[in-house]
Each structure stands twice: as C-alpha cells, then as structure tokens.
Symmetry: C2
Subunit: 305 residues, 2 copies
C-alpha cells in the first residue's frame, strides 16, 4: 500500500478515533487540536512528532473533524487557514454537519486554489470512528473521491457516493439527523408514556423492537434508559445543534417541519436542565419530570452481571 | 387437533383474514358482519352456513375484530350482546385498539358472567391477517390464554404474553401505535425535506435504511412514495383514530406528548384533504403541498418491471 501523509484537524472523540484508524492503516499521520494534551497523547500512540502546522505543504489529505460550519471555515480560510498552504491537488475531507449551501461555498473557494474538497459528513459515533467503521455520506467529483480514498478506506465501513454535486452529502446527513433526532425523542416519549400506563422500560425494550414501532435509534438507546446509564456515547447537546441546522436549512427552503420542531424543543429543555453532556437518551428525563414519573436508577456497576 | 367452534365478529380487511386463517386451521368457523355480502362470501369459502347469531351458545371462542371501544362494547353488552348468550367459560378475544381502562372494564363485566376476556390488540396489517402471521399483544390470566390458544395459534406468528393484568395488552398497543404513527409522519417529513434539498426519494430510500435514521415504518412505507402507489395496505384514517386514543389516554394520565400531537395534526390534515382512504404514506402529500414540492407519480402498471 502506498503510504500517504494525512493530517487530522480536531482530536475530539470522533477525530481522535479517525486519527487512530488512519494511523493503524499505515499512513504518516499528523494530529492537531487546540488542546495540546490530545496532540501529545496521539504522538505517544505513534502519530508523527513534527507539528502538523509545519508539514501542511507536504500533506496529501487533511481530514477536518470540527464541530460546525464556523469552525470548518476557520480551519480552511481563517487566520493561518490551511488551504493557501496546501500543495496543489491536495484533498480536504470535511466531516462536520453543515448546511449544503455552506459546503458548496467551501468547495468553490477550494477549487479556486486547486484544492479538492470532499463534502463528507460522518455517522456512527466514537466507537466506530476508533474501529474505522464509520458511515460517510459523501459527494464530490470522482477525482476527489480517488484522492480521498486512502483516508476513506481507513475511516469507514460504508462510503455512500452520492454523486458529484457537492452539498448532497450534507443534505443527506441533514435528512438522516432529522430522522435520528426525532426517533430518539419519540423513543423517550413512548417509553415514558408506557411507564404512565404500567409498562416497564424493560418490557418496552423486550417487545417494541419486534414490532412495527421500532427504529434503529430506539433499539440502540432504549437499553440506556433500562440500565439508567447516561454515559454520553452521543450527547444531548448534539441535537439542539443538528436539529437547529435542519430547521435553518428547512426555513431557508420554506419547508415546514413541525415534528422536527417539536423534537428540538425537548432537546433544548434537556440541555436547559443541565443534561447537555449526558447521553441523548436523557431527553427521557424531561418527559419523566413533566409527567411526575420515575425512570430506572443505574444499578451498582460492581454487581455480577 | 381438537376442532373448536369459533366465531369472528367483524369481517373487515383484518377480520376477514383472521376468519380465513382460523378456517384453514380446521375449526368450525362462523363469520358475522353488518354487511351480509361479506358473510355470504365467507360461507362460499367454507365458513359455516348456519348464522353465528343462532350458534352463540355453542361457541368456544369469539374473536371480536371491530373498529373501536364503542363497537366492542356494543357487540359484547349492547342490544343482542353476545356475552349473556355465551356458554360458561367461553372466551372473548378482543382485538380492537382501545384504552387500557376500557379493557379492564370489559374484563370485569365478562368475569361476572363467567366469560374469559383476552385483551388482545393485533398488529401486522391485512396481509398478515390472511396468512395467519399477525402479532398479538395480549394480557390476561393463564387460563384465558389456554382457552384462546386454538384461535391464537391460527391467527398469529407472535403472541406476546404481557402478563395477567388485563389492560397491559392495550397499553402496549398504544405505545406501539404512538411510535408507528410518529415514524410514518417523520418519514414523510424527512423524504420531502430531502426533495427540498435535492435528494430524490429513490436516493433517500437507498441510503437511509442503512443509516441510524431508519425505522421499521420508514423501510416499509418509503417505497410506496418512490412508486407513487398509495393503495391502502393501512389507511391514513387509522391514525387520527389511533393517535387520538394515545393522546386521550395520555391526557387522562396527565402525560404531555408533544411529538405525537404534532404527528396527529399531519394525519388530520391528510384526512381533511380527502386522503383518508389512501395508504398512510400519503401524509407525505401534505408536506409536499405545504412546501410546493412534487412527489413521484405512479408508473404505468403495465410496464415490464
């Protein structure tokens, strides 16, 4: 395999896992984060010691794994932005959830400097980032997919090639997030409604996955409520951000989305009540509080399982 | 196998399929419906010729497959109600979606006359009714399950025994309907939002089922929108009824359910616009109309597939 020089900007829970997966695939891998402790930790695991900022002109691919559109723009075109320092034909893989129109703007600006831009939002959570099993909803010219391939192969189990129109990746991600967020909140609404009718969360979790009311999110998150375990695999605060993006885009397109709007309110309430850093299943606590119900407590972790 | 005498009251699309499944299992099967043409049709297929009303005292089991609580009460205890005519120990299998409290009331009244009552809402649609592959969310004493077994075996692929507290079957059905209705409307919201962002329903239906945004209902109903085929396997008008029951129960229990309420409004709009008898995926037409978008037209059925 050809060894590439690949940079990862943003070593949060997703970016760190991506960096590990790319390193494991045998590439010269440079990590960067505002938090220098994360950079040092990655170097200790085998990342390149020389700072990413001093090696930008040599990189073949940069994976940008930051929080949102503003941070993406800052990394690419802000003070010390990387695009003007990258070599001709280098490839930016942009992973944040952003509005499609923003992705198109970034692509246009990159093209003018002979940089390839892949509109490539990611899905799957931190565990799959670390194991190289993400799903990526990607759009861009074939040439860009070819340039990005070494990193994509290392990062992802599924790369959905949505065609060459940049923005389609971000649009599909928005569609997916609309559904995922609504389904988490609907699960929370249903499991607590069940409690109000004498159905325990345990019974709910045994029966509903076998019925027409099931969803991927329900099967994944309802067990957290049964266990009373709100360790954040994906946090409540993701959803005011992502459903906010969905509704911003929808409003710009004059698209009314009443169910998404209702779900967003529940996540905002959860965040307002101090649950923002808990697992997103904690939105059920808002329902329980509003209806005067009790959710299962976490069992002692030292118990035999 | 012991041959039982079993009556089915209500030969709509679900009840007729149930009657066929019970007949196929070898029981002496009596069908009744207000529409005498359906009774005649069932007799022509092998149902007993003697009217159900003249044979009530001989029946071992009566499956009541009517629209709602009011019709169920009418059949059991109204003018010419069957309960006072049934023999001691006969079993009523009550399949309509009803409030749990109603099921408990019916059970109490049946017990006083030595009639077994199984709280047994059904799920799965008319095809599965006809093939004997329904799911049944059932609650009642073990004695009642034993009495109902010949009919349950013929009707259902899955019988979920939710315990002996009558009402738990209806409560679980309400929980499932909450989720199923919300997921259909969320699918409609997402697929039309996708159109507004340049994502075709075809692409949506290829990608989302492989992602975290998927649901059982999405995988089942989104293809109807792609095909432009709104033949009612399950109609829009089911949902104002069933989500209405969910919200009635929720209100009685002082349980706020904002996402269910938002979904219900979309189904009410669909029904108001004359789509009540179309497949429930037609709720997408409300979204398309509100946003000025076009859904796929039905392809010519004579085309080679």
């Amino acid at each position: 395999m050809l060894q590439n020089k690949i940079g990862i900007i943003g070593l949060g829970s997703m970016g760190y896992g991506i960096a590990q997966s790319i390193l494991r695939a045998g590439h010269k891998t440079f990590g960067f984060d505002m938090d220098s402790a994360k950079v040092s930790q990655f170097i200790a695991e085998g990342g390149e010691q020389s700072p990413l900022s001093e090696n930008i002109s040599q990189l073949d691919i940069v994976v940008v794994v930051v929080l949102n559109a503003a941070q993406t723009e800052q990394v690419l075109f802000g003070e010390n932005g990387i695009v003007e320092k990258l070599k001709n034909g280098a490839c930016v893989i942009a992973c944040a959830t952003v509005p499609p129109e923003f992705a198109r703007t970034m692509n246009d600006k990159c093209m003018r400097q002979n940089i390839c831009y892949l509109d490539a939002p990611i899905s799957g959570g931190s565990k799959k980032a670390a194991s190289g099993d993400l799903s990526i909803m990607a759009a861009g010219p074939e040439k860009t997919f070819a340039a990005a391939k070494p990193a994509l192969d290392a990062m992802a189990e599924n790369v959905f090639n949505l065609g060459e129109d940049v923005g389609t990746g971000s649009a599909m991600k928005a569609v997916n997030q609309l559904l995922a967020g609504v389904h988490i909140a609907a699960m929370a609404e249903a499991i607590t409604f069940g409690i109000s009718q004498g159905i325990s969360p345990e019974l709910f979790t045994q029966i509903i996955p076998k019925c027409a009311g099931s969803s991927w999110m329900l099967e994944n998150r309802a067990p957290h409520i049964v266990a009373g375990d709100y360790t954040p695999h994906s946090s409540v605060d993701i959803w005011p951000k992502d459903l906010g993006i969905v509704l911003d885009i929808a409003k710009q397109s004059k698209f009314p989305a009443p169910i998404t709007a209702a779900a967003l309110q529940q996540f905002i309430a959860a965040s307002a009540c101090g649950l923002g850093q808990e697992d997103d299943a904690a939105v059920a606590k808002i329902y329980a509080r509003n209806a005067g119900l009790e959710l299962p407590e976490q069992q002692n972790n030292n118990e035999v399982k």
